[in-house]
């Protein structure tokens, strides 16, 4: 049952990024280009997603545990550290260079091109390197 639930969540996410046009790097870069011909689409995507999920979480987290798992796994940290901010900054540079964040990049795989393949391979490599680093740092 967990597999079916995971599939439905992925499918909704994939439908969302495709319908919204986030699988088009030009739309994403158009939003980030605030000093050019600004494209507001991403604002509606993030706004729609956050508001929907804000309401959704309020309803769902009233329960004591999820429908098909033992407990809710929520991050508990509230302190800021260099890893969080440094990581977010590096991610932002990569996002600004390509117009791809992880969701849309992976969801675009059915329209595979050489540059997208390079993006996905390098992203996977970046994850592996970060996992090694975080593990050897003892966390």
């Amino acid at each position: 049952m967990k597999v079916v639930m995971g599939y439905i969540a992925g499918l909704l996410f994939g439908l969302g990024v495709a319908v919204s046009g986030m699988t088009d790097p030009a739309r994403v870069l158009g939003f980030l280009d605030v000093f050019g011909a600004w494209d507001p689409t991403l604002m509606f995507v993030l706004g729609g997603a956050v508001i929907t999920n804000f309401i959704g979480y309020r309803v769902v987290l009233r329960r004591e545990y999820p429908l098909f798992a033992g407990s809710f796994q929520l991050p508990e940290r509230s302190d800021l550290d260099a890893r969080l901010i440094g990581g977010a900054a590096l991610f932002g540079i990569g996002w600004g260079l390509s117009g791809y964040c992880p969701g849309p990049a992976i969801a675009s795989a059915s329209g595979m091109t050489l540059p997208l393949a390079a993006m996905l391979l390098a992203m996977a490599l970046g994850w592996i390197v970060s996992q090694r680093m975080v593990r050897s740092a003892g966390r």
């Binding site: 909704l12 030009a26 980030l32 999920n53 987290l61 098909f68 990581g87 990569g94």
Partner: protein
């Protein structure tokens, strides 16, 4: 303003929000793409792999379904679903490394910190989202208006 594009954005955004709520309601998990998918690679298979893999299959099949319905929102070609990459393989290798490594050590991307973290009113996610948005805006400014001369 292009209202059709904005409406597509809003509908897609609601679907992404529903996905995040659904994953929390059923499996109790944050719908962060970098976290879900990076958990599939570089780590030994465990009981956690099956739903992550199913999520990946869903993420890949969603756009295919939208293609069949002809309901995409590509800027240059309104009914297309997947837009062309913004650069060649060399630029994408660099961008991919930064996105992978950055989301890896920063514990999240646009979905984990943006869609889920902001909805939880998490201070860490708010700061992370502000940081990657600002850095991305500065990067696009430098690439398009300083180096590229306003493409």
């Amino acid at each position: 303003m292009d209202w059709t594009a904005s409406l597509h954005g809003l509908i897609g955004g609601v679907l992404i929000g529903l996905s995040a709520t659904w994953l929390m309601a059923t499996l109790g998990r944050i719908a962060g793409i970098s976290g879900i998918i990076s958990g599939l690679i570089g780590t030994r298979p465990n009981g956690d792999h099956a739903w992550r893999f199913a999520f990946l299959l869903g993420l890949l099949s969603g756009p295919v379904l939208v293609m069949l319905l002809g309901f995409g929102n590509v800027a240059a070609e309104p009914e297309a679903v997947i837009g062309a990459p913004a650069g060649g393989p060399g630029l994408m290798l660099l961008a991919g490394l930064l996105v992978g490594f950055g989301t890896g050590i920063g514990s999240g991307c646009t979905s984990g910190h943006g869609v889920c973290g902001l909805a939880r009113l998490s201070w860490r996610s708010f700061v992370a989202t502000l940081t990657f948005m600002l850095m991305a805006i500065i990067t696009v400014y430098v690439v398009r208006h300083v180096i590229g001369g306003g493409a």
